[in-house]
Symmetry: C2
Amino acid sequence: MGDSRPIGVFDSGLGGLTVAKEIFRLMPRERIIYLGDTARVPYGGKSEETIRRFGLQDARTLLDLDVKMLVVACNTVSSVAIDYLERHIKEVPVIGVVLPGARAAATRSAEKRVGVIGTAATVRSGAYAKAINSIDPGIKVYGKPCPLFVPLVEEGLIDSDITRLVVQHYLYEMVDLGIDSLILGCTHYPILMEVIQSTVGNRIQLVDSALWTAKEAQHIMRALGTEYPAAQEQQAPAKRAEQFTVEASEGFAASRFLVSDVTPNFESVAETLLGAGLPGIEKVSVEELEEKEA
Amino acid sequence: MGDSRPIGVFDSGLGGLTVAKEIFRLMPRERIIYLGDTARVPYGGKSEETIRRFGLQDARTLLDLDVKMLVVACNTVSSVAIDYLERHIKEVPVIGVVLPGARAAATRSAEKRVGVIGTAATVRSGAYAKAINSIDPGIKVYGKPCPLFVPLVEEGLIDSDITRLVVQHYLYEMVDLGIDSLILGCTHYPILMEVIQSTVGNRIQLVDSALWTAKEAQHIMRALGTEYPAAQEQQAPAKRAEQFTVEASEGFAASRFLVSDVTPNFESVAETLLGAGLPGIEKVSVEELEEKEA
């Protein structure tokens, strides 16, 4: 039982594959239709108006393919445009990555000092701070945009002196401010988890929004009875440990991966982010879908 | 006399302002209509098909505004799509940045070993190597994509330890290969000229495509009689020295700057690249102009 239709997951590019990975880990039989707007990536330096417009075009592309839920894997769209998307999309539930990550950090910060790193648009929006303070107004939230992290990951510079120096450059102030939790508010950042952790020290816990978003998706689908298969028919999910591989998830082989541009390096970038090669990609056009303004 | 219509200059984003700057320096009374496709920047990691499509949309947007010449300030478009643009655009001359830069390097390399740095698409295209070898087939050309340089410039990390480390990371192999000339094949790279020069050493001369492209534009307009004002009515241009400022050019104040997105950091980035604040920007849509395929 349950709803066997796929979950729609979209991102400005391939970064959202880290969210898809957590969904496959937690719900290995769910199928995903993933959309990466690789022709217009990145969104993080763009205006709110453009981010809203692009986000709605991405969402509509997936809705046309009959998904049962929309997961906005892009932190930038989640920060700037989630209300806008919810206003325009009534057909299926829409969830972003900001609220789940914010909730996880808010309930775990003993010192009540949380750091948020992400794109310029994500940090400027203050979306994580608003979400955290709606849970606990006493928590101080410090934001810092880290625009060099995504190109470092895409260049494969994961564990290098350059990356350590850039991590220090961006994060030394936050460490001095005494944060005890740091939200990785961009889909690429979990790939840098080890170098970030070793640079900021073990006193600071890293909060991976991708992981908490997968849990939130499951929670909502359970409430609506749309999880597939229904909870009572499931076996225990794979542990968050070495033995998990995306390829072992039944849903992965039946999932679809759409991009707006077949970029030359997509295979290596996808491999880095998903920990597995993509079974195949399909090119779609997202630009022509013009939204009706509210 | 001469043709007082503006010169159209376009780029994937704001980087092409370094080319606009050289045009103002060399021909201070020429007006420019600049177009930066800031909604879809960067182009350098995208496929050839997408780069061609975006490039033609940009070009058509400027043609509709009655320019007398098109300068493709974007190295990526110049490398991948200049033939395609020339086939589709018959109304005005179209010049790119690759040929002028290649010619300057080919005639200056005593050791006959030239390095080219740029985006992934520019280097993969081999366009600079082809252009250099059409002049002198005996020159060895070594290419290296440097995707971190643009975000470093846009982050304002011009003279920092991080940037020096990244320059070393990308360029140590080329230095070992004995190049004596290095083409800065991306519009942002002239901003890093000093740190690149001090890292690779003074034995290697840096070739700035922006500068040679401005000269090429002047050369072609003189041949066609469209330079404004005509050569015999001109005063000596400003020297390539400290005294030059873009604001002092008569054409600058009468120029227009179009973008497809009003990005939040455009003012600081434009200031870095142009050495002057923009007098004002206008937002245009470039996506809707669909080209007819050849």
